[in-house]
């Protein structure tokens, strides 16, 4: 993918209208299909006998092909929102719809099947199986999808090639750098060709260069048509997306279209130039 020539005009064109729209508006996606929808989602839990309202009546729509950032300070409920729309956690009230299917009343096993088929996760802590090589980690979702033998190995290999790790198939997580581990995690998220990839602070544990590389891969995948949601507290990371939803105290306070989107590939190139100049 390093051969890809960045196309700034195309990037700009792919964003929806440049003007800001009020949050929760039904026709937000226009012509595009709504991949994920949260409607009136609230999450309350008791922490040391104190009731915490992590989310208060949140409405969110994610359109197909969009790259969306959910941004907010720590404690704003952004991770909780991602876990709920990713079906890793359940809301106290409200409904989540994925690909038009309401998941509210699904049993745990149906939720597992939906996660497997429609959602890919990238976590801050990578969450790879330790002592298990990159290829086997990427194969994991395919095993549970019932993909067998050679087909499974081939798809896992292709996914790793897509994130630039075609030569690291047999490496264990502890033999890989943080950035490489996160790329394995991205390959694992991609391998089932899900409707949406959810990334929770994907650059949180990485140095800035590895972080840029990860964002570059995510932008690249988005350009190829994947729907991507990035959860972050970091404005720079958020500005790689085309739309930012700001969360504070469990509510969406602002929903903006990014005007001057950061293109990770450009920044990587600038960084290379700086380093070359220093030497």
């Amino acid at each position: 993918m390093t051969n890809d020539v960045p196309n700034e005009t195309m990037e700009a064109g792919s964003a929806p209208e440049a003007n800001e729209a009020p949050p929760g508006e039904e026709e937000r996606c226009g012509e595009a299909r709504v991949v994920l929808e949260a409607r009136d989602v609230s999450k309350r839990y008791i922490l040391e006998q104190i009731e915490v309202n992590a989310l208060r009546s949140v409405d969110l729509q994610v359109c197909e092909g969009q790259m969306l950032a959910i941004m907010g300070p720590s404690g704003s409920g952004k991770s909780t929102l991602m876990h709920i729309v990713g079906l890793l956690d359940h809301p106290t009230t409200g409904t989540v719809t994925i690909d038009g299917v309401d998941v509210s009343n699904m049993e745990p096993n149906e939720l597992a099947a939906t996660r497997n088929k429609r959602i890919g996760f990238v976590f801050q802590a990578f969450n790879l199986l330790s002592r298990t090589n990159a290829a086997a980690n990427v194969e994991l979702p395919l095993i549970y999808a019932g993909v067998l033998g050679a087909a499974r190995a081939k798809r896992a290999r292709e996914a790793l090639v897509r994130v630039g790790l075609g030569d690291r198939l047999d490496h264990l997580p502890n033999q890989l750098s943080g950035g490489q581990q996160q790329r394995v995690a991205i390959a694992r998220a991609l391998v089932t060709e899900p409707s949406i990839v959810l990334a929770d602070e994907p650059t949180g544990n990485l140095d800035s260069r590895s972080g840029m590389e990860v964002m570059h891969i995510l932008q690249d995948l988005n350009r190829q048509g994947n729907t991507i949601v990035v959860v972050t507290h970091d404005e720079t990371v958020a500005r790689h997306a085309e739309r930012i939803v700001h969360l504070k105290d469990g509510r969406i306070v602002h929903d903006e279209i990014v005007q001057d989107r950061i293109i990770a590939e450009d920044r990587l190139r600038e960084l290379d130039a700086e380093e070359a100049a220093e030497e």
Binding site: L88, A112, N127, L129, Y144, G146
Partner: protein, 395 residues
């Protein structure tokens, strides 16, 4: 997901965590092997001793000076006395003709030929002694009545004594020194293995009169009576008591072979239970080892379950993986433990009698397997019921 696939996942997980798998198996192996081995020793000793008493010949009555029957477990408050040959002669005269009365004397002695010396045990009796000390003669003969009366210096060698003193030679008609006195070897016997009185092969046999002379005593501690007809055992037992009552009063114990066996097996049963107790402790320690490894890995495994669930594993997928892992470790560990315990008990045979018993194998295996499977599966069961995000965040 197919069952075969579940096996693949489980074996992959085991393969990825070899140290943990090995340590878990080690717990099962130690528990199973220890139980099998210890119970094998206990049972083996019991069988051997019982067999030795049974092998003494049939229809035997044993008389000992001192009241062993009173429940005190040893000589009573009265005077501790020994038998003399007068007592055995009296019995022989008064009992029916068919009864054979054998005075038995045992004592330590050193036997030497040239500069070779062996510490051994003298087992002495009269001309009927072969009724008590059953042995197969490889050469020579038993001592005769005339040699008993004359306290002749003749000796029959046990197999180990012979091998030490006369390696690859025929000892018959050779001379040996017993406690400094010169003896003529008149016979030697085949190897018999251990027995009640110690190692029968490390014994020498001689007339009781001779043995008493070596020790400068006219006393001995046991009279054995061989009764021809099994139906006469109880009446003979009563007669023996009557005949010796005049001299010993109640300070006398007379057991039939059956009673002796009963007492012995009671004693040895206690030994076996003691060994089983030790084995039980080994099982417990092994079990705690298994438990520790399993519980220590709960955090890691709970996260693993969280990851697997996040990418789409169903509860069934998780449970089948963990059940297969736990069963595999327990069964493999159990099998290795059985093999080790068995091999160990075979290896011990040259030092102690061992018999591997089915109940010990079954008990040890079941217990270890149950502990392994429970502690392998239960935490996994709990984790598999968590929301994936709780499993991922588990600490």
């Amino acid at each position: 997901m197919s069952f075969l696939e579940a096996f693949r996942i489980a074996f992959r997980a085991l393969n990825a965590n070899k140290v943990r798998a090995a340590l878990t198996m080690l717990g099962v192996i130690i528990g199973v092997a220890a139980v099998i081995l210890l119970v094998a020793i206990g049972t083996g000793v019991q069988d051997e001793v019982t067999g030795a008493v049974e092998g003494l010949g049939s229809n035997l009555i044993f008389a000992f000076p001192g009241d062993f029957e009173g429940g005190g477990g040893g000589p009573g408050g009265g005077l501790v006395r020994s038998f003399t040959l007068d007592d055995s002669d009296l019995l022989q005269r008064r009992l029916p003709e068919s009864a054979r009365v054998v005075p038995v004397f045992q004592g330590p002695a050193s036997v030497s030929v040239g500069n070779r010396e062996v510490r051994t045990t003298i087992a002495a009796g009269n001309e009927y002694a072969s009724e008590v000390f059953t042995a197969d003669y490889l050469g020579g003969r038993d001592y005769r009545r005339s040699e008993v009366s004359a306290a002749a210096r003749v000796v029959v060698l046990g197999s180990r004594v012979r091998d030490e003193l006369f390696p690859f030679q025929d000892p018959v008609d050779q001379t040996v020194d017993v406690e400094g006195l010169r003896f003529t070897v008149i016979g030697h016997v085949a190897a018999q293995g251990g027995s009640l009185t110690g190692d029968q092969d490390n014994q020498i046999y001689m007339p009781i009169t001779t043995a008493q002379r070596i020790y400068g005593t006219d006393e001995f501690s046991t009279i054995v009576i061989n009764v021809e007809d099994a139906g006469d055992i109880e009446s003979t037992q009563r007669q023996v008591r009557q005949i010796l009552q005049g001299k010993f009063g109640d300070d006398l114990s007379v057991f039939t072979q059956e009673q002796t066996l009963g007492i012995l097996s009671q004693l040895l049963g206690t030994l076996t239970f003691m060994l089983a107790g030790i084995a039980g402790i080994s099982l417990l320690v092994g079990g705690i080892g298994i438990m520790n490894i399993m519980l220590v890995s709960v955090t890691e495994r709970t996260r693993e379950i969280g990851i697997r669930k996040a990418v789409g594993a169903k509860t069934y997928d998780i449970m089948s993986q963990f059940v297969i892992e736990a069963v595999t470790l327990s069964v493999a560990g159990g099998a290795v433990g059985i093999a080790l315990g068995w091999a160990g008990s075979l290896a011990l045979r040259s030092f102690a009698p061992t018999v591997v018993t089915a109940w010990a194998v079954a008990l040890a295996f079941m217990f270890s397997a149950a502990v392994g499977i429970f502690f392998g599966v239960y935490p996994a069961y709990r984790a598999s019921r968590l929301d994936p995000i709780e499993a991922l965040r588990y600490e």
